[in-house]
């Protein structure tokens, strides 16, 4: 069910444009109204950690800007003109045509137009992303699966190659840093991560290698699952689904052991790598422990997560499982498919029963604030989007933005993934508190 949202945290299927922008040298072509591209760039890119236009996003986004004429008479000829221009003007390796609400509603056969270009040899695919079809997380999956279906061909397997499907580019302001972190951790196990997005991806070459991988690693709550199934059907690749952010020593080591097992990594290699990582992690943990102990009196004892289930459950395991904080409430704000609700509830419930807090599925800022007002004297630490600043202030709590929309922080290569990611989150939370109290 789609509900009315005050202060939404996700956008529409066409927001998948940002996943195309995230592929090096891929060019999104929007067959949509004139404002869609800019609005989605604004909400998912610039005013979400100030991730800018980069190569093919922002002002560079190609768009047909359909108007009244195309709404009345159809926009297929307009789309052909724009594709013709894009193939000549835009320097890219892969072109992804995305339909919007307006062109989907008036029934343009975008798929057929694009297929004609592909038959003539253009590296171009089509994705049905009319905004009303779902969230930008679903739009991301639609785009990935469209590229898989329309662009990939079987390849010989490459030993140790692992495709990484993790959080949704741009929507998660830390997506790029997370991918680099995953790549580095897999390298420690002797595995080669095939990254499809971000600065460490080889762009179209990485995508062409997808069928050659021995394993699909889905490190996200639910996005990417349909891709893993699709790749299994088409290329017989097995997959490992890890639905919780591996953050901190306990969770990251558990994650890496599971990956090592799935990818048949030598047990001793794994053991040596994990020990070295944990040793370094615990050095910094111990170093900060004087602070944790001596300032605990006045630090928030309770925390709230308003994130997707991946971040929420992971952060909870770090804060409650390693640092001794207490969960107050969890809000899952990325609107996962209803059939995932039960599994998500369980991901939050792995710690001891007294460390469980209610999990509420909502992306509505009004509902989140109303629920939190039931805890008036809690002064919690709220980890959510920038929308939560007001309710944090109202509850005399403190607040750190870690999820979309994050217009109060700038994200570069920051990452909350793994051992280093936990230390980074600790720095960010307590740095914010130390600044605020002085």
């Amino acid at each position: 069910m789609s509900t009315i949202l005050q202060h939404p945290r996700h956008l529409c299927a066409l927001g998948g444009q940002q996943s195309v922008v995230a592929i090096p040298r891929a060019i999104p072509i929007l067959h949509a109204g004139p404002g869609c591209g800019f609005k989605l760039h604004t909400g998912l890119g610039s005013y979400n950690g100030f991730q800018g236009g980069c190569y093919s996003g922002g002002a560079s986004l190609v768009g047909s800007n359909v108007g009244e004429k195309e709404i009345v008479f159809g926009g297929e000829q307009r789309l052909r003109d724009v594709i013709d221009g894009a193939l000549k003007v835009m320097d890219g390796d892969l072109y992804v045509v995305l339909s919007g609400c307006a062109t989907d509603l008036v029934g343009d056969d975008t798929e057929n137009v694009v297929a004609q270009y592909r038959r003539q040899g253009a590296p171009i695919v089509y994705a049905a992303t009319g905004g009303f079809r779902g969230s930008n997380l679903q739009g991301h999956e639609t785009i990935v699966n469209s590229i898989v279906n329309q662009f990939l061909t079987p390849q010989e397997k490459i030993p140790g190659l692992v495709n990484v499907w993790s959080t949704v580019p741009y929507y998660d302001p830390f997506w790029a840093g997370n991918l680099t972190a995953i790549q580095n951790l897999l390298a420690g196990l002797g595995l080669r991560a095939n990254l499809l997005f971000g600065p460490d991806s080889d762009g179209i070459d990485s995508w062409c290698r997808v069928p050659a991988a021995e394993l699909n690693l889905v490190v996200s709550s639910w996005t990417g699952l349909s891709t893993a199934q699709l790749l299994n059907e088409r290329f017989g690749t097995p997959w490992l689904h890890w639905p919780t952010l591996p953050i901190g020593a306990i969770e990251t080591s558990r994650f890496l052991r599971a990956v090592a097992e799935a990818a048949q990594v030598d047990g001793q290699v794994t053991q040596i790598f994990l020990e070295r990582q944990e040793k370094r992690y615990h050095y910094y943990f111990e170093r900060a422990a004087d602070f944790f102990l001596e300032f605990r009196w006045d630090l928030p004892s309770h925390y709230v997560t308003v994130t997707d289930a991946f971040y929420g459950s992971g952060i909870s395991r770090l804060l409650s499982g390693e640092l001794g904080l207490l969960p107050l409430r969890h809000f899952v704000s990325d609107q996962p498919p209803i059939e995932q609700y039960q599994a998500i509830q369980q991901q939050f419930a792995v710690l001891s029963p007294e460390l469980n807090a209610p999990v509420t599925f909502t992306a509505d800022g009004d509902q989140i604030a109303s629920e939190l007002r039931k805890h008036p004297k809690s002064s919690p630490l709220i980890l959510g989007s920038a929308w939560e600043r007001d309710i944090a202030a109202e509850l005399d709590g403190c607040h750190l933005s870690v999820t979309s929309p994050m217009m109060d922080r700038l994200a570069a290569n920051g990452s909350y993934f793994g051992y280093d990611g936990a230390l980074r989150l600790i720095e960010d939370i307590y740095g914010m508190i130390l600044t605020a109290v002085q």
């Binding site: 789609s2 009315i4 949202l5 202060h7 939404p8 996700h10 956008l11 529409c12 299927a13 066409l14 927001g15 949509a32 109204g33 004139p34 404002g35 869609c36 591209g37 800019f38 609005k39 989605l40 760039h41 604004t42 909400g43 610039s46 190569y55 093919s56 922002g58 002002a59 560079s60 986004l61 190609v62 768009g63 800007n65 359909v66 108007g67 009244e68 195309e70 709404i71 724009v82 013709d84 221009g85 000549k88 003007v89 835009m90 320097d91 609400c101 307006a102 509603l105 905004g131 009303f132 079809r133 930008n136 800022g365 009004d366 920038a386 929308w387 600043r389 007001d390 929309p405 217009m407």
Partner: protein, 501 residues
Amino acid sequence: MSVEQQIRQPFTANPVRANRGTGVQIRERRLGSITGFVGTAGELVQIARAGELAERERSFTQAGTCSSFCATLQLSLIQDAVVINHAPAGCAGDFPMFNLYNRYGQGKRKLTRQNARLLTTNLNEQDTIFGATHKLAEAIHKAYRTFQPKAIFVTASCTSGIIGEDLESVIEEAEQELGIPIASVNCEGFRSQVWATGWDAAYNSILRKIVRPPHQKLPETINIITFIGEDYFSELLQPIGLKPNLVVPFTGVEQLERLSEAGATAHMCSTLGTFLAAGLEREYGVPEIKSPPPYGLASTDRWLREVATLTGKSAHVEPFIAAERAAIAAQLEIFRKRFAGRKAFVAAGPSHGHSSMEVLQNLGFDLVGSCIFHHDARLDHGDPAGDSLQAATQHTPGLSYGVCNKQAFELVNLLRRLQPDLVIVRHPSLALSVAKLGIPAVFVDDEHIALGYRGLIRYACKLTNWLANPALERTLARTTKLPYTDWWLNQPPFSMLGEPR
């Protein structure tokens, strides 16, 4: 309904307004606006005056901006109103930006920082088939319960327009029940290629539902239609005994109700305010200052004289002008020498872009071209005295001039040839394309900074600092690539621009 609520229903009491259609005509039809032109400033002025301005469409385009963005920008910053976007969730992509503007502006104005009050009806596929007016009704009630707003604005979208949602019937019913003005805003993105149409849609909803007949006249108050810049208007108006009333951002509904009481209405940018100012004059006799906004020496002189004439302050104005001009003369001369021969290019909306052109010329820059996002053949008041392009280029009609709705591919191609020393940019997302060429891209965040006489000096100081160290642009030019093919960069810059039709 409480007694207070019963009293509060004058928004349907004015028969002139009640009978007027709810929608505003798009600029292409109303003002003869276009988004494609290349030639000289003088030619454009002449063609537009002769009523011969024709659109030139591009065969290839990059994503633009839509009316909904512009409408919501104005409405979301009214502090005690709510905006409900009747649309799929993606149209709310600009909410985070407006929230930043809101909190940032509240901080500057010493107001309590709070989130902008924004909702989306989050339309899905089912809603496009069965309609979703029930969701809109629910959203209105939810917004009322949560915020107790003084007014609610319902912004339309491509989707609500195409599926034919009847916003008015929902709104009428809710108004009866809640006793506050609720206004639809016809800012469907596909309706216009001129995103400034969104300002008109927002102002139309304010004129229809918020503004009331005057209880009193405040002849010394001057409405200034503006964005979010700081109040430099006081600097120009207070010395001659007048008081600026900056609208619409950071006002409250009550302040907007009383727009009809002012002595006159002026603009920070006449492209922005044309519809609202003309409407206030037409419906309430509040005279509109027709002269282009007070940027640059000549335009500031002219604007001040018109304001003074209309408000009976003529006796004060000449001494003030003389004193202000004298106060900046020496500094201005230093800056003119510093910037002499430097090449400048303007990428901005019309009117404010024209103002920037005049300011840059005052500061000694050579203007080498422009990318002005659209051109209005006329303004709503219809008076040629308001022609800001003519005012800015009266001594330089041969200036090369382009109209282009932020098509970065065209802009980049052109700038590579012109190699200006700086580019003034007034639209988010565009500066990066300029900076990647190694050219200083001055993103003018506070559109009021160059205002009046002292503004020339403020602006010159900003530019001086900006140009003093182009390391950022040089780093970008050295390390990043623009997404255009060599083929394109070797084509004539306007080769995708079609013939006039």
